[in-house]
Amino acid sequence: MSNSVDRRRFLKVLGVTGAGAAAVSACGIGPEPTERLIPYLIQPEDQIPGTATYYATTCRECAAGCGVRVRVREGRAVKLEGNPDSPINRGRLCARGQAALQGLYNPDRVAHPMVRNASGVFEDIDWDGAIQRLTAKVREAQGKGIVFLTGAEQSSFGDLVDEWMRQVGGRHLSYEPFGFEALRAGNRMAFGTGTLPTYDFANAKYILSFGADFLDTWLSPVEFQNGFSRAHAFDAGRPASMSKFVYVAPRLSLTGMNADQWIAARPGTEGMLALALAQVIVTQHLARLPTPPDASRLSALLVGYAPRAVAATIGIDEAMIVRLAREFASSGGGLAVAGGMATQSPNAAQIVAAVNILNYAAGAVGTLVKFGADLAIGSTNTFADLTALMSEMAAGRVALLFVHGANPAHSVPGAFQQALGKVAYKVSFSSYLDETAAACDLILPDHHPLEQWGDSRPRAGVTALQQPVVQPVFDTRPTGDVILKLSGKTGTFQDYLQNKWRARHATNFDQYWMDGLSKGGIYIEAPARTVRLAPTASGIRATAPVDSTGDEQTVVAFPHPILHDGRGANKPWLQELPDPVSKIAWHSWVEVHPDTAAKWGLATGDFLLLKSSFGAQKFPAWITRSVRPDVLAVPTGQGHTAYGRYAKDRSANAFELLGAQPNDYGGRSFTVRASATKTGEHRKIVTTEAGPRELGLGTTEVLPLARAKALHRGDHPFHYEETPEYAKDAVEWWGERQHEKASLGNYRGEHPRWGLAIDLAKCTGCGACVTACYAENNIATVGEELMQRGREMAWLRLERYWRTAEDGGPQGAVNQPMLCQQCGNAPCEPVCPVYAAYHTPDGLNAQVYNRCVGTRYCSNNCPYKVRFFNWHNYAERDGQYDAFPDPLSMLLNPDVTVREKGVMEKCTFCVQRIRGAQNQARLENRNVRDGDILTACQQTCPSDAIVFGDLNDRNSRVFELAGNPRGYHVLAGLNTKPAITYLARVVAQASPSRG
């Protein structure tokens, strides 16, 4: 022993060596030889190094036209936040809007113009050469058919396209895969107007949705979600403030799982139900009847829709229909909407018209359904126009086709591809090499919306302005500039846009323009228009679809709430964000009812081959009670054959199953009959769901409405014995020691205690907070393979627990955002051997990344499972798991450390925002005020469910909410003393199941 190196000696040697190493490196202090500081030539006027600048612009991820503010640091856009000035989204943003940045910095963007050469492959071309070539092509094609296909473009850009097409004798066509033809046709039938009204969810007292997924994909989701949460949230301050929400559809969507009641009516009978409700309202005089000509028209058309006559066809009780009608009318603010799955069947226009009649009978038209401020998406061309174009193309009558902002080769796969082959010359302005662009002859990549000027008129009265917030990332050009050049006009699209705006407001234009720029647009109240029943309304009939026989199933293709029609599929944030209902990420699935699955001997993950008369695709089954037994449901969005590394060859394309024939109202049918066969293949589903229910753990609490209303401040409906008797002594001792510690060093004195309140009655589970968290905190996306192994890094996840009705079926869900609870008595802290996890004086469970050695003890000891380990180096350039391939790395937030392999990470309540606000406050000689700090999740939440603040400040909002009688702590019995207070979900049922 004496000869060997003992521990003491070893440590001595180690110490000396360490000191030596330190001394050596101390001598070597100085610059890294490669690090250079390159100054600006001219300091940009509005940039302070190290300080973010915000620019107002408009989100163009869908046609809703939400206003955004882009946080720019040193010339890079690092985060999108909603613009509070915008009347549409009121400062909120959805997951798709948050992910617009990943479109801007997408590694698979088309970096420069490309042309297809003689051998059929793309080669680079310079801009001048491309424009010359195109000018010649336009001249050549004049008179032989020129068509410009865009997405929904109610904007100055759309006007420019119109003008140019008039000039060259072509035409402009707009196309959205999920169009609203049925809504327009239904409105025309009932009211004689083919426009889309606005819907006032915020003031509705009773919401009845016939398939309309207004929280996720229907018309203007952020606006509607914000309104819905104000109407549907439980607020003890207002009497009877919680409006009831009933969802009628064959499948529960994100919107449906927030409903108080789900009526799984037979697909196609929704119109019948609507008319039956109207019939009860009119015959029982539950609402004030409209003035004479309309009243008699109403009663005449409702004859034959008595509940007794139609109940069996719809598949629900007669008593239920009467009860619904009574509730709807007596609420004094019933709002019925039709859309989504109800407007996808062949008789969809009838269904919409029937729902219009219901609204009209209940008096909602003109109050909650307002015509006048019409939604712009209602003026896109119909699917019938697209199919007409396709047949022209196929007949060779289109010599030159331009495509901008649309990808019909993905959404109308076979037919459009074939027709495209017959077009002499195809030009794409796409930023990505999507299916349509890949089939084109010339690609002139457009700027990303964040790089260029533009505007958008999402609805009458709102003109949203879009300005460049960063320098172009690639050698792209705004399509507006290209068109102006092609049409022989001088100036840029910016001049064109300004002239358009000048025409609207010439006096004091500069002031007007600056106003628009700083507020993100010009917002005025559009005058309301009164509508009456049209003479055609008496022809409204609701028929039930013919029951088909045979082995075929009804298959419903629904828009993916996150990837939508597939446009989000090349963004890793959106791929990694689990679908709010199924919790499946990175691939698509088919929803199968357990009864059906049992009949076919199907397990979750077994592949099912769906074969319609138009195409066949394989989907893995997800077995769920949230779909009718006679319906199979598949999401769109996946199955790209091009479009970039995150989208390509991923799962199956649901559009393949659909036909390309328009309905009689000009829309497309998203419901098909298909045979389903088990293929025998199986895959592991990529899901973040561990179990569909919380199994009585008390993590989600649900209160019946009557009970919640009776609560007073100071009540504790969820009282737990936080400390069991046998542990009292130990806990007291521990408390004393803690108390001693609280008077030492840093911990002495007054400190804030940061806390969060999350209202489960408001949370819809949409997932916007998750993506906002990814964006703010540089969270890596891990990809399909690692996610399958449960290694996703989402600091904030949404847990969805089904609530069960008496019959065993789901009764909606409770969604719970689960993130670090910043426990006052944190189990993670004492087990960390290196003090990387420790308690800050302001009550955070901090994680010091550069101290962490990766023992993972903390994660092991965390009862909430909110700590995430970096198993790989996700930020390693060109590494196997590189989550930020260039130029995606440009969106990394410079205020947050990018973590390395072997480091544990977790939610920090956006500590960088806390420190930033503290620095700013100190600079202004004041303390941090309540509301100065918004965490990323809180900032983006469309339903305002999350509130952050100081629990030690008696005047803060979070303090008030933490004392709410609905408040409870998750797993409070573990004595962890979390800083997050959840407010129980309130439901309309008398004896709700917990979830």
Binding site: L41, P44, N746
Partner: protein, 224 residues
């Protein structure tokens, strides 16, 4: 009153670069913090005034020329500490001899976490007129003028670099300690012909000062 730090050209004209090179970013409008930024601007001006030597504040002539520091003429640069920069920029001449306050060039140090390095425009603002008194000065100033003409800013070699996982908000330190305390960490730059790093910028060095001043030693204040 003599205000040695106010360059006459800078005070009267805003110099723009050649017309084809406008700005690094296109024209946009700042939406939020507009008011705050206005305040910060004026705060920066206040800071500049406070940074004057006390004599100047009293409205008297700045220090008599005799007691003023005169930067030495350097012929042999090889013995100077610190890395060789692309332009032999003399902090001792600018701030020691000519008494230009640090924040004239590093303008965001008092309002932002980053002090910033001056844009080439800031240099040329004075050096359009000031050509240097000695041949060696003239040669270095010519480099600045050439860089401006060629629109190629010099690539300075970084001297003070913090590790990536540490945050150092400059404005908090200047707010608490005053504008003259740049020297506490960066050394006596006023008398350095070539700037070199004098502090280790290691955590122990940070914490020692934090203990001395009895301010926070919470990890998450700097590490996040």
């Amino acid at each position: 009153m003599l205000r040695p730090y106010l360059c006459p050209i800078r005070a009267h004209a805003y110099i723009l670069g050649p017309s084809d090179y406008t700005e690094a970013v296109p024209h946009r409008n700042r939406t939020t913090d507009l008011a705050i930024r206005g305040n910060l601007r004026s705060a920066a001006v206040v800071v500049l005034i406070l940074a004057l030597p006390p004599a100047a504040l009293n409205g008297q002539q700045a220090q008599p020329a005799s007691s003023r520091y005169t930067a030495p003429v350097i012929t042999d640069t090889s013995s100077l500490k610190g890395p060789r920069q692309p332009i032999f920029f003399r902090h001792d001449v600018h701030t020691g001899q000519d008494l230009i306050p640090c924040m004239y060039c590093h303008s965001s140090a008092a309002i932002s976490s980053e002090p910033g390095i001056p844009a080439l425009q800031t240099c040329i603002g004075c050096h359009q007129l000031i050509g240097g008194s000695t041949p060696s000065h003239q040669a270095e100033i010519k480099k600045v003028r050439d860089a401006w003409r060629e629109r190629k800013p010099p690539e300075w070699i970084r001297i003070h670099a913090l590790p990536g996982f540490v945050r150092f908000p400059h404005m908090r330190h200047i707010k608490a300690l005053g504008t003259h305390t740049c020297v506490t960490c960066h050394g006596d730059v006023q008398h350095m012909a070539q700037v070199s790093q004098v502090s280790t910028l290691r955590m122990g060095w940070c914490v020692r000062c934090h203990i001395k001043n009895n301010v926070t030693r919470d990890c998450s204040v700097c590490h996040y």
